[in-house]
């Protein structure tokens, strides 16, 4: 029996015209049905990345074959899939084989405790069941092969049969992953060769969504959104078709908003949803924008696209709606880990393309932002000086306005210098040049830098009518080899934020304190300001991002904290939000090796 099976399997696999997964798995199932008395054979992948889903629902059908001539007597196609998912007995197999990895036998299916579709099984006359767990290279069960029999299984010895089948299928899964990875990359490269010369990102991505990715995961609708650092949202780049339920002219997804934004925001990993209408998914207004599909939108998979050049920065999102069952494409199926794996793999290529093309757009966005930022203080200086000059001979005017106007000019000039410095470091930190060329190191008292930073925010404190003396600096006398101007920029931006986003319900008060650990200098900047929403904690350092709560109180372009993080990271440090509210506390960790300048001789400091 086992020899016959092996020969048949080999024959089937050799005959496979491609190494596409579906065909490989079809071959295996064909071989089993040809060499055994199995009435129905199906292979299911197990999905571990599905949140609250039950195990049985988290399985996805790869292939299922009835003995020739048999037709499943289901009500309709969707019931067919769902019935089988519920009746799949996978839970039994996983529970019973968890330790042994040996096949699970059941000689009376109706007695299986997790069996939920007795009626369907009755109609097919199935009585015997064998479940074979399929592990991957790490010995994690990634699939279950289910064999149903009307008569007693004529397979001897069963253990050898199960081991052979298990190894073949496990190997097929491995081949399947490799084949798909190679093939999707070839397809994407071919598309780029055809469309790349058009220099239009949308033209490159339309065929990717319309055809290429569809070959690796059947879906009814898909869209790609890319980060717009100027407007602070993910904007639609390409779609297979999207419908709007209101009169909005644009589709936009804010970072962390809705189910789509979550994958890019707090989660930063592929997200899969079984049912968009379930209450827990809480579809908000963003879901007014849905892909056009034949079936109502039900299942969804969202893949974050990570920027290759900046760690953890999500520059785009791909969203797939309504997976199609491989056998019957009109049936809505569940997305699974395998879909997420191949699409995440493909997203690496998409990331390179987006990063390359976005470079120019981001530079323009950055210039626009900086221009707007610069215009305000420049215009203030201009109109204030103009009014002073036009009225210089009017003594009462001078007496009345001179001091306040000179203060306005001074403040605006200081603001402009700080903005220019911030943008300079913004530009430097995002340029691929060695750190040794970005920064000028000198032995500097961190306390002096903090006092200097506090002085630079005096004008803004005066304008906003807060007492800058309430910025208390209490750190040890640390002397570090750092760039004085860069770190003044860091603390200028942090202190400006404490002033801009102060909470008027409390007295303005900022505390800057520090202590040492064995390997780090720790600096805490805390205030009783508006606070930071916990869900924004991972995004506030993203270029262009602005938190919801601060947007209620003041405007800004989301540049400052991005620069702060980049500078601190360049010096081997870290910054995080250690406390979100009452007080809000930023914790800056700087490595002890900044105490001397040896690090400036290292390769990491001097190489790109």
């Amino acid at each position: 029996m086992s020899n016959e099976l092996i020969y048949t399997l080999n024959g089937e696999l050799l005959n496979a015209s491609t190494w596409k997964g579906q065909e490989l798995f079809d071959c295996v199932v064909n071989a089993i049905q040809e060499t055994t008395n199995c009435r129905m054979c199906s292979l299911w992948s197990i999905n571990y990345n599905t949140g609250n889903r039950t195990i049985s629902r988290s399985a996805s059908l790869i292939v299922r074959k009835l003995e020739k001539g048999q037709i499943y007597p289901g009500k309709n196609r969707e019931d067919f899939v769902n019935d089988l998912k519920d009746a799949c007995l996978i839970k039994d197999v996983l529970q019973k084989t968890e330790k042994t990895r040996q096949p699970y036998h059941c000689f009376d299916i109706q007695e299986c405790e997790n069996h939920k579709s007795k009626e369907s099984i009755d109609k097919l006359g199935l009585k015997y069941f064998i479940g074979i767990p399929i592990p991957n290279q790490e010995n994690k069960i990634i699939a279950v092969l289910k064999l149903f029999f009307v008569d007693k299984p004529a397979i001897q010895p069963l253990e050898l049969f199960a081991t052979t089948i298990r190894d073949v299928i496990s190997s097929c899964f491995f081949r399947y992953v490799l084949y798909n990875r190679q093939q999707v990359m070839e397809d994407l490269m071919k598309n780029y060769q055809e469309k790349g010369t058009e220099r239009n990102l949308e033209n490159i991505f339309n065929p990717i969504l319309g055809n290429i990715l569809y070959n690796y995961c059947k879906y009814e609708g898909a869209s790609i959104f890319i980060w717009d650092s100027y407007m602070n949202y993910y904007n639609l780049l390409s779609t297979t078709g999207i419908e709007r339920t209101d009169d909005r002219q644009t589709v936009f997804y804010l970072a962390g908003e809705g189910l789509t934004g979550k994958a890019a925001g707090e989660r930063k990993r592929p997200m899969m949803y079984d049912n968009l209408y379930e209450e827990e998914n809480n579809p908000d207004y963003m879901h007014k924008f849905r892909e056009i599909t034949n079936n109502p939108s039900k299942t969804m998979m969202v893949i974050p696209i990570f920027r290759p050049s900046v760690k953890d920065e999500v520059i785009g999102i791909i969203r797939f709606v309504n997976k199609q069952n491989n056998a019957n494409r009109e049936v809505v199926d569940y997305f699974n880990d395998s879909d997420a794996e191949i699409m995440s793999y493909a997203s690496n290529y998409l990331a390179l393309t987006i990063d390359y093309f976005l470079g120019e757009k981001e530079r323009n966005n950055f210039i626009s932002k900086i221009s707007h930022e610069f215009r305000t203080p420049a215009n203030t200086i201009r109109i204030t000086a103009d009014r002073l000059l036009k009225n210089e001979e009017d003594e009462s005017f001078i007496e009345r306005y001179f001091n306040s106007y000179m203060e306005a000019i001074l403040y605006s000039a200081e603001l402009q210098i700080q903005q220019a410095t911030t943008s300079l470091y913004m530009s430097k930190t995002r340029t691929n040049i060695p750190r040794s060329e970005k920064y000028i190191l000198s032995k500097t008292s961190l306390k002096d830098i903090l006092y200097k930073s506090r002085t630079t925010v005096i004008p803004i404190a005066r304008e906003m009518r807060v007492k800058f003396n309430n910025i208390i600096i209490d750190i040890p006398a640390w002397h570090l080899f750092i760039d004085e101007f860069a770190f003044t920029t860091v603390f200028y931006n942090l202190l400006t934020n404490t002033i801009k986003y102060r909470n008027n319900d409390f007295d303005f008060h900022v505390n800057i304190s520090g202590y040492e650990t064995s390997s780090n200098f720790i600096i805490n900047v805390s205030d009783y300001g508006l606070g930071i929403a916990p869900e924004d904690s991972s995004k506030i350092f993203l270029l262009g991002f602005r938190g919801k709560n601060v947007a209620k109180k003041d405007t800004g372009f989301g540049i400052g904290l991005s620069v702060v993080k980049q500078i601190i990271n360049d010096f081997g440090g870290e910054i995080k939000v250690a406390s979100f509210k009452s007080p809000t506390r930023f914790e800056i960790k700087l490595p002890k090796y900044l105490s001397d300048d040896n690090y400036s001789k290292t390769e990491i400091w001097n190489s790109k």
């Binding site: 949202y233 203080p377 215009n379 605006s412 947007a551 405007t555």
Partner: protein
């Protein structure tokens, strides 16, 4: 006879800051009274009590306040547009001129302003010295477009 107060509502988060101070001083000297709102909540509050303004000046990039949704105002980048639409819909303000006065070039807002009848003037801050600005405001109030 009691002289009528020439009131202007100015909705701008910088309305109490240095950057608008010279404009407001100039308007005050020319006999205008400026009612200041730093955010949409303050302007709502003011407009619920008084509507007898000669004109309402609105900035575009502004804080959201408590009522305007983050997404609708694009995180504050277009708060002024949301306010402007509400002002346009308010029939009691039909005869009050609306003016956009902003540092930001925003094509969407400009398009909205141009689509209104009569058109809403979109003025860029950096194009106006204080005296020219006051002249422009007077022209808009007196003649419309």
């Amino acid at each position: 006879m009691e002289q009528q107060v020439k009131k202007i509502l100015w909705i701008d988060d910088n309305v109490n800051r240095y950057s608008l101070m010279p404009y407001i001083d100039e308007l005050n000297e020319k006999g205008f009274t400026i009612v200041k709102a730093e955010n949409p909540d303050e302007s709502d509050d003011i407009l619920s009590k008084q509507k007898d303004f000669l004109c309402i000046i609105v900035d575009i990039s502004m804080p959201l306040g408590e009522k305007i949704p983050f997404g609708e105002a694009k995180g504050g980048m277009q708060t002024g547009l949301v306010i402007l639409k509400k002002l346009v819909e308010d029939k009691a303000l039909d005869n009050v001129k609306k003016i956009v006065f902003t540092i930001v070039d925003n094509a969407e807002v400009r398009e909205y302003c141009n689509s209104q009848t009569p058109k809403i003037r979109y003025l860029e801050k950096y194009r106006y010295f204080t005296d020219a600005f006051v002249d422009e405001i007077k022209t808009i109030i007196n003649d419309g477009l």
